[in-house]
Symmetry: C2
Subunit: 201 residues, 2 copies
Amino acid sequence: MVGLRERKKQRTRRALIEAALRLFDEKGFEETTLAEIAAAAEVSTRTFFSYFASKEDVLFFDGESRMAMATELISSRMPGEHLADLLLRLVRASMGWTSGDDGFSVEEVPLRMRLVMTVPSLQARALHLLFDSQLRLALALEDAFPDELDHVDAAAAVGALIGATKLAVISSINRGGSLEQAEEAAMRAAQLTLRGLSSIG
Amino acid sequence: MVGLRERKKQRTRRALIEAALRLFDEKGFEETTLAEIAAAAEVSTRTFFSYFASKEDVLFFDGESRMAMATELISSRMPGEHLADLLLRLVRASMGWTSGDDGFSVEEVPLRMRLVMTVPSLQARALHLLFDSQLRLALALEDAFPDELDHVDAAAAVGALIGATKLAVISSINRGGSLEQAEEAAMRAAQLTLRGLSSIG
DNA sequence: TTGCAAAATTTCAATGGGTGCAACAAATGG
DNA sequence: CCATTTGTTGCACCCATTGAAATTTTGCAA
């Protein structure tokens, strides 16, 4: 299963990610070409596309593992646990996740935030990925509350929670707030929303 | 103010929009090139970009006028009107807006929905535009409730409301629901969220 | 170890969106 | 009618992305 082939692929993937993040940091996203990233990772430009579907995607390399952690947490619902409590657990836990098994650490979080806030195509991609995650989380919620939630409830709960926290965070940062203030705003928005959600589950 | 120059520009803009929508409908978005759109509108390809910043943007030509209607509605808050009531008015009204002064009618709504649901780059662009609108709506809300809402409240309210309805609509459509069922889901999600929001304003 | 099939990489050419620029045409205002 | 402003065009160019064919690397079995 974990033969040489697989290990080599992981090494290449890692090299691409590291090269890309470094170059994005040094020269900016739009100023970095795929050719440069590929060269820095010592592969051909074409090979980049067998690892990532687009230039944007390399920045969100840990999306899948974060998603896996989230769905796992949801499916770990304690018997009888209330919707709002489970979601609060989810919000708290996910703020601590920097990255999963991908082996990258918390250091690239500010870089990613900066890039997503300033580069339109990255913002669009981030929103798109987040939206996709929400649909999947809603499905997971439905599974976790088979008798209590229908799909509109589940969608409304996930959409409201993530919608509120996301807008609060960005709105806070747009006003020049620090990452700490943004985190603070996120928790407050989440709690406001969860209070409303307590009428559902 | 409305000289020949201005009228001519509006005619060109309209021609571009009509040509683009027709071609997107006939051949699909990705299969339509900018050269074809420009040719159908009888301008040069280069000119397309003095009207729209990207191929995606032409599909959302009425975004600004819809936004204007929304902010106007918010600023028309009756004295003492409660947050949830104002937002309910907003949701109801906006479902009726097909397009504003742009002079296009309800006919392109299904086309747009179909394209946004199936073309990734359009979905990303739509989410990006919607997100931007949310930030502006949150600001408008803050202005409308100067004493009752701080910016986290406002962001949470807008984010939760739009997040919930959006996810409910798409989730409903993803299950094969009709546009009517989606609208139904939207209203239900909005009401669930507004109930929670009644604790804020 | 050798040889072969599968998988990964490279090379190459082409498409198409998007931009900067300089020439050109048309409208406006006097 | 002239001068200025504004919009249009053609052109050269950059770069992301894709397809296909050629080539290399790896896994595995004889």
